[in-house]
Amino acid sequence: MNSTDSRYIQGSTGPWEIVIGLEVHCQVLSKAKLFSGASTEFGADPNAQVSFIDAAMPGMLPVINKFCVEQAVRTGLGLKAQINLISVFDRKNYFYPDLPAGYQISQYKSPIVGEGEVLIDLPGGETARIGIERLHLEQDAGKSLHDQHPDHSYVDLNRSGIALMEIVSRPDMRSSEEAAAYLKKLRAIVRYLGTCDGNMDEGSMRADVNVSVRKPGAPLGTRCEIKNVNSVRFVAQAIEFEARRQVDVLESGGAIKQETRLFDSRTGETRSMRSKEEAHDYRYFPDPDLLPLVLEQAWVDRIATSLPELPDEKKSRFVAMGLSAYDALVLVAEKEAADYFEAMLKEGAEPKAAANWLNNEYFGRLNKSGLSIVNGPVPAASNATIVNMVGENIISGKIAKDVLDIVWAEGGEPRSLVESRGLKQVTDASAIERAVDNVIAANPDKVAAAKAKPQLAGWFVGQVMKATGGKANPTVVNAIVKNRLGLPE
């Protein structure tokens, strides 16, 4: 592997290997909570979306949301994972104000989804396989606000009981880049599946990052868990900081304490979490309010047949259409980009030209304007038409960019726009011949030079293009220039 160097950090005692595993919590895109009929909508007033079950009022009982079970199975299938037809809900017992029952309903010994895998794409076109240990369903906790009052914390239970899928990876990642690629890929997969919106700002996807370091080839070191990191960038930063910290501790003769740490996005540092200092003993046991969850293979099979095409398969299909691996990767990274690309193909655009056009022209403009593919101003059909017109020799590549600028700023149908503004490429040979002759007549010195040095023909082509306002077909111009100058084709 040629990226070996970036996978090690250099300490005073030599190189150290970073070992990373991620536990990612994905909020299931359901209307109601996992065990109650309260709404999951983001941004409600405090405690406005809390059923008596979510608040653990006396005598309240959980009943599971079938849709959430289905989404977990769907996600498991998307991770090419084992679906467990029998799984069990356990109680994880601990006291915290945002955990009303004093226990979280989760799955411990028997999760709904077992081993699977995620392929990540590394720079240089390589891929790596990251093992998935399990996916289980569990309840989210509420939220404690600590900065509203000097002496009090405020508790809002709106999140309490929302369905989460906790996806636990194997400690298979060796650099912050790999961790970032994994998180991005996981996000793409759940978004393709439609099981989670992957919105890290609103907390619907959160990562707990397990980091340890070791000398290459040595057994695994003691790990620290960094809780609730809420962006891909922060995950990378947290790993960089934490790995360096651990190396420093070890090299100065210290030992790593297994602990939970918090990432401070302002300083880029991690610190020990005071509220988690006490050793936990979660006293897991099967929740007696719920029976084991038994699924039928036929039901799982039906979900499997309804699975959409996922990024890896889509990428292979795009490459088979003639796209470069890189272009294909860029397109499949965001489901909406791939959808947009495919919408262009439906309008008859040639795949490779469409991919080039998007990657080189349209995405750049979106980036510059801070827009995304879904809220960009140009519909896929319009971009397809522009690409098609280039292919049909109606406009040149240069004019195509102008047309895009016009459609971007003013809207409009590209074909009629080209027509009404007279942007059509000139392919009429006599008109082009006239223009070539004019340029030759005006520049006798250049003609002589070009006869000695044929590369200079390009200068004449440029001049002709300029004189025709870019509308002349460059291939035709090139041929006529060479003919008039007496140069070989």
Binding site: A32, H152, V155
Partner: protein, 95 residues
């Protein structure tokens, strides 16, 4: 198996039950009395026996994904020992 004072302190902490120092020794005795008595389960041959997960032979019921609850905040806060603007209030927690 039997418990000692440290174990009683540890489980009281886990259970979030304040236990006065002078209650610990009596509690050690009470718990050991009960534990000695349940010790008889050791005699039972449970080789190959699956633990009971449920006495009812039934599939787990499932609900449809429908929002059935409205804003319960007022009813929810009615019993709260301390509340503010529909938040439950507790002494400050330092993370």
């Amino acid at each position: 198996m039997s418990v000692d004072k440290d174990t009683v302190r540890r489980i009281a902490k886990l259970a979030r039950l304040a236990l006065e120092e002078d209650r610990i020794e009596p509690m050690v005795e009470e718990l050991n009395g009960i534990l000695a008595w349940v010790e008889q389960l050791k005699e039972v041959d449970v080789e190959g026996v699956a633990p009971m997960t449920s006495v009812v032979e039934q599939r787990l019921k499932m609900r449809d994904d429908i929002v059935t609850e409205g804003d319960n905040a007022k009813a929810l806060m009615a019993n709260a020992p301390q509340g503010q603007d529909h938040f439950f209030v507790v002494p400050k927690v330092v993370e």
